[in-house]
């Protein structure tokens, strides 16, 4: 089982859209996939039409009083399940802090799922906190959406520094450009001037597109609602790169 987390310190940069579309594409390729919506705002949960509620709240889950298995819900898509968000996740830092090894707790909770799933996608809340530290420890791949601005690149470099300083297990950190607006000169300049040897920034970039914004209405990944659109093609290319980073190039499941 491999784990990918869509993560950013900032909100509204396309984390949830990426998480949903990549998870759908992974499941379509045959990976048994679970999305864990860690964000108390529950956007991923809403988009999958699942009720954002965990019996006993996040506390019961984190403390192991409620079996993680029982909280999982199937989505409408074959091979794709969801561990829904709960409003109590806003206190997740405190819940984790009470645990024995507070930075390893999420990884520990995910471990028993390795028989049921090939891929876990963590959709993270925008913050840098104990939850993020847990995500860094649990993920194999940390996927960071970047709006092409100077500041966001600077923040990404800071994040690389934070991850490099971690003890023990460190995720592979890759960014991709998100919400790219072809009409904005700044976006084009930033992407053009990026040093070519930066392997930590993926080639695929996701455009700022109406169909991504409409996901709130269609409540479907864009690769389902508008499979021929630019955004769907971008997510498909992005998934291919993530697949290779997670499973190795040519590992066989992506057609």
């Amino acid at each position: 089982m491999r784990t990918v987390a869509t993560y950013s310190i900032k909100g509204g940069v396309g984390k949830t859209s990426a998480a949903l579309n990549l998870a759908y594409l992974a499941a379509r390729d045959g990976q048994r996939t679970l999305v864990w919506d860690l964000d108390p705002q529950a956007a991923a949960t809403f988009l999958f039409r699942v009720r954002p509620r965990i019996k006993g709240g996040g506390k019961a889950l984190v403390r192991g009083k409620r079996d993680i298995d029982d909280a999982i819900k199937a989505t409408d898509f074959p091979g794709l399940d969801l561990l829904p968000a709960d409003f109590s996740y806003r206190h997740m830092d405190l819940m984790l802090d009470d645990a024995k090894r507070p930075t390893r707790q999420l990884g520990k909770l995910l471990k028993p799922l390795s028989l049921d799933y090939d891929l876990v996608v963590l959709d993270c809340p925008p913050s840098i906190s104990l939850v993020s530290e847990n995500v860094f420890q649990a993920a194999d791949l940390l996927l960071v959406p970047l709006i092409p601005t100077t500041l966001s690149l600077r923040t990404f470099d800071q994040l690389l520094g934070v991850v490099a300083a971690l003890d023990g297990r460190r995720p592979d950190v890759r960014a991709f450009f998100s919400m790219v607006d072809g009409r904005k000169r700044l976006h084009a300049d930033i992407m053009r001037d990026l040093p070519h040897n930066r392997s930590d920034i993926l080639k695929a970039s996701v455009p700022s597109a109406t169909d991504v914004e409409r996901m709130g209405l269609t409540r479907q990944p864009v690769v389902v609602s508008n499979p021929g659109g630019r955004a769907a093609q971008a997510y498909t290319a992005l998934w291919q790169e993530c697949h290779d980073a997670l499973f190795g190039p040519g590992a066989g499941t992506a057609p």
């Binding site: 048994r32 039409r49 009720r51 999982i72 819900k73 399940d81 090939d118 057609p255």
Partner: protein
């Protein structure tokens, strides 16, 4: 108990029941599909026995739990990949231990037209599905129509909704639960039954049956094994078809020797010769199969430059192709066809073409005791005569005796106390394993020396290839010496007081 998930209804009720269910349960049509699916398993049903069902659906291979129907692994598959034994990485890793040397083959091909109906909640979220399907099985050019099927597909976290759907179905006129899965029904339509073949011999005898009847049951069962495996041997689907075929021939030859006199003597003599011929016809291919199967281990043993063994591999593969072509010819020959036809007539249960032989009226219990005692006595006598100076042939002869004893114990397992029988078999197998290691390394060494000569004559062989064979021969010599050293311990365990008393208790007399 969980509610049934699979239902059926008669053809006459199908249209009415489908419409009623659709309207009453407020379902929505999610998809209409026409699908072809192929169920795959090994010839001896290894996936089924391990609790799996593997289906090739469109471009995907789906491995499901046989009991729950839950998909446990899914992988993209291009046409024919599974059939060529090239499972996609993820499935290969998971199933390697289950499949062993066996290849996958299609066990049933199904064409289905189905309608997927979704039960949705207030958020328009799908909470359960109902699949209505009408399927046909294509088998040898004939098409069999399967029962109409209504399958409730529960979704994780929404079990309650699936149960409600099942209850509603159970209450619909003309709809009733069906206990067999689509896999089982499709396989049945091809005339087979999951688990209908195993390489293990399982005969149900009792002590009072005449030797004549018991022998015919044994011969018939072994002939069925040969017939079942013949096509796989000819088509070379995997190496185990030939293995099982050969074991059945050897068992038949062993029975012809140990149960001599059960059938008329002339008939036995004739078929003894015929089965010797058949056994010999299969030997070259099998020896080469074993050699090729050993190659990964050979490569490991000679160390780093394992490519040095490639010329040897090419030579052995070539030999194997030729040997197999000869075997194929033998198995298609008139001689083979006549053997099968006449042997089948001789051992037929209902209308045998022959009467009983001189010992045909003896009870099988009595004869089995006597034969097991005699062969065990020979094993103990021959084994005790082997010392460090004995030639390799004496170990080879002892191995043959052990096989005879093993076959007798297997033919007559139903006549003996199971625990005692099992303990004896365990001890015997340990001794056979040691003798097998000794003999196999002996055969392989000689074969390698012969191949090295031929490669040398070919003149184009690089020196590194010959040196690698030399290293391999040295490793095999070393292994053979180890097996020889271990023989004394293995044999003294088999010949120990504990095992001797097991042997006497089994047949109620000291061997």
């Amino acid at each position: 108990m969980s509610a049934p998930k699979e239902f059926t209804c008669a053809a006459d009720d199908w249209a009415r029941a489908s419409k009623e269910i659709y309207q009453r349960m407020a379902l929505s049509i999610e998809a209409e599909q026409v699908r072809s699916l192929m169920f795959l398993d090994t010839f001896d049903w290894r996936l089924y026995r391990a609790g799996y069902v593997l289906a090739h659906v469109d471009d995907t291979l789906e491995l499901s739990d046989r009991e729950t129907g839950t998909v446990v692994a899914r992988a993209a598959a291009h046409n024919g990949t599974a059939m060529n034994g090239e499972l996609p990485g993820k499935l290969r890793g998971r199933l390697a231990g289950v499949l062993g040397l066996r290849a996958l083959a299609a066990v049933a091909s199904v064409d289905s037209s189905s309608v997927v109906l979704a039960a949705r909640n207030d958020d328009a979220k799908t909470v359960a599905r109902l699949v209505l399907s009408d399927s046909r099985v294509d088998h040898g050019g004939r098409r069999a129509t399967l029962k109409y099927r209504l399958s409730v597909v529960p979704l994780r976290g929404y079990d309650r909704h699936a149960s409600r759907l099942s209850e509603e179905l159970a209450g619909t006129a003309g709809v009733e639960p069906i206990s067999s899965s689509l896999f089982e029904e499709a396989v049945a339509a091809t005339g087979r039954r999951p688990g209908d073949y195993t390489s293990k011999l399982s005969l149900d005898l009792n002590r009072d049956v005449s030797t004549y009847d018991a022998a015919r049951l044994i011969y018939r069962t072994l002939l069925q094994v040969m017939n079942a495996n013949r096509a796989g041997v000819v088509q070379e689907l995997d190496t185990e078809y030939l293995h099982d075929f050969r074991v059945a021939v050897r068992r038949t030859r062993s029975a012809l020797k140990e149960l001599a006199g059960s059938l008329p003597v002339e008939l036995e003599n004739r078929f003894r010769d015929e089965f010797r011929w058949l056994g010999q016809a299969t030997t070259p291919t099998r020896d080469l199969d074993v050699c090729l199967l050993e190659f990964p281990a050979f490569r490991q043993r000679v160390g780093v430059s394992s490519g040095d063994l490639d010329p040897l591999h090419a030579l052995v593969s070539d030999e194997k192709r030729r040997a197999h072509a000869r075997l194929r010819t033998e198995l298609r020959s008139t001689r083979y066809q006549r053997l099968c036809k006449e042997w089948s007539r001789a051992v037929d249960a209902e209308a045998p073409s022959t009467g009983a032989g001189p010992v045909g009226t003896t009870s099988i219990g009595e004869l089995a005791d006597a034969r097991i005692r005699r062969v065990a006595r020979h094993v103990l006598r021959d084994g005790s005569r082997i010392d460090d100076a004995s030639p390799a042939e004496s170990l080879h002869d002892l191995r043959k005796r052990c096989k005879e004893l093993r076959y007798l114990l297997e033919f007559f397992s139903s006549l003996y106390e199971p625990k005692l029988h099992r303990s004896l078999l365990v001890e015997l197998k340990a001794l056979q394993l040691n003798l097998g290691q000794f003999q196999d390394t002996q055969v392989q060494r000689h074969a390698l020396e012969e191949y090295a000569e031929r490669l040398l004559e070919a003149k184009k062989t690089p020196a590194a290839a010959l040196l690698a064979i030399g290293r391999l021969v040295a490793v095999l010599e070393d292994q053979q010496r180890t097996a020889r050293t271990e023989f004394a311990d293995r044999f003294s365990e088999f010949a120990g007081a504990k095992n001797r008393s097991r042997l006497s208790a089994l047949t109620e007399a000291r061997p």
